[in-house]
Symmetry: C2
Subunit: 202 residues, 2 copies
């Protein structure tokens, strides 16, 4: 029999692979973290949310988006397992205009900011784990900054294919187009062209 709710167990197992969690930390965490479910199309975070949380995505796909000049711009795309949230705001520089939307039905573990601060101050191994996880988030943000600078739709999509092969089958084309800042029509054309090239070179 599982001691904790399944999503929390998955979360602990994920952390444990980065640095072994001591039993008393597991006990503490299992009392504090909560799990939530979000249906496809619903918002996990909108600019109206004042509480500052981080989330571990146990199951599902999500996107971050923001509005620039009244247009929804997809800023990131993620599937499980991954830590997500308005991580910038931990540093007091929050993008308040940020939304997080479920692309599929999602299961998540919630970690609120007060608890996280407490953990960082009292459990040094959480700093080790936090550092490793934020290094991953940082690498992902650098990649997004890079992909946004690629000048042509074709090169953008080729980079997308290389970096995010696991997203191609799960994320709708319109959201990939929004993430790459190209129109859906252009992206469809690029995909057809690349598919033809692949056939010829096989």
């Amino acid at each position: 029999m599982l001691k904790y709710f399944m999503p929390v167990t998955v979360f602990f197992s994920y952390l444990n692979q980065i640095y072994p969690l001591k039993e008393h930390l597991v006990t503490y965490l299992s009392e504090k973290v909560t799990k939530i479910e979000i249906k496809k199309g619903k918002y996990l975070i909108s600019p109206l949310d004042k509480e500052d949380c981080m989330y571990f995505l146990v199951k599902g796909a999500v996107r971050g988006f923001t509005k620039i000049e009244n247009k929804k711009i997809t800023t990131w795309l993620e599937v499980e397992p991954v830590l997500i949230g308005r991580i910038r705001s931990i540093d007091g520089q929050g993008i308040t205009e940020e939304y997080i939307e479920a692309i599929e039905d999602c299961e998540l573990v919630v970690i609120n900011k007060e608890m996280l601060t407490y953990l960082y101050d009292n459990y040094f191994e959480i700093n080790y784990i936090g550092r490793v996880l934020i290094e991953r988030s940082y690498a992902a943000a650098e990649e997004r900054a890079f992909i946004a600078r690629i000048p042509t739709a074709e090169s953008k999509y080729l980079r997308f294919l290389k970096t995010y092969p696991h997203l191609i089958e799960r994320i709708p084309l319109r959201l990939i187009a929004s993430f790459l800042s190209v129109s859906e029509e252009t992206l469809s054309r690029v995909r057809t062209k690349i598919a033809k090239c692949t056939v010829f070179t096989e």
Copy 2:
């Protein structure tokens, strides 16, 4: 009399503000870290460099750039005090095509990857400090990904003014233009327009 070379002292002071460094850690670090100077226009890192280091910029201004379709694209701009480097490659996902160039004469403290791994494994407070520093780098990367998606040159420059007021006087216009992915002529026009608006509203 200062016990350590000046740049190293500045570096320790910077770290100490994030989390107090124990005396034995200061002693260890002061034996291990080295300092270097790079003249304006020279490369701190080019894709040819195999050694993976991080740098603490004590004095000066630098830019990261990459080549996309044979064009130099400025990916980031920084002035002291800041931790810089090919941080992505720590996670084994290095952008090997990355360059770091001195925009001014620079003084830096060098932290090599082996030492950093040793520190993370043996000094838990370094994980606390590392986490805080990488959170800052992450926030900066998110901001760069955001600014790259802003559709018009004017909105991009207004965001640049808001986020990087400390860079305006120190970074040449051509590099700001490159960072914003707009031509220097367009950026000059935008600056003139904004300057006029400011005069009218004052």
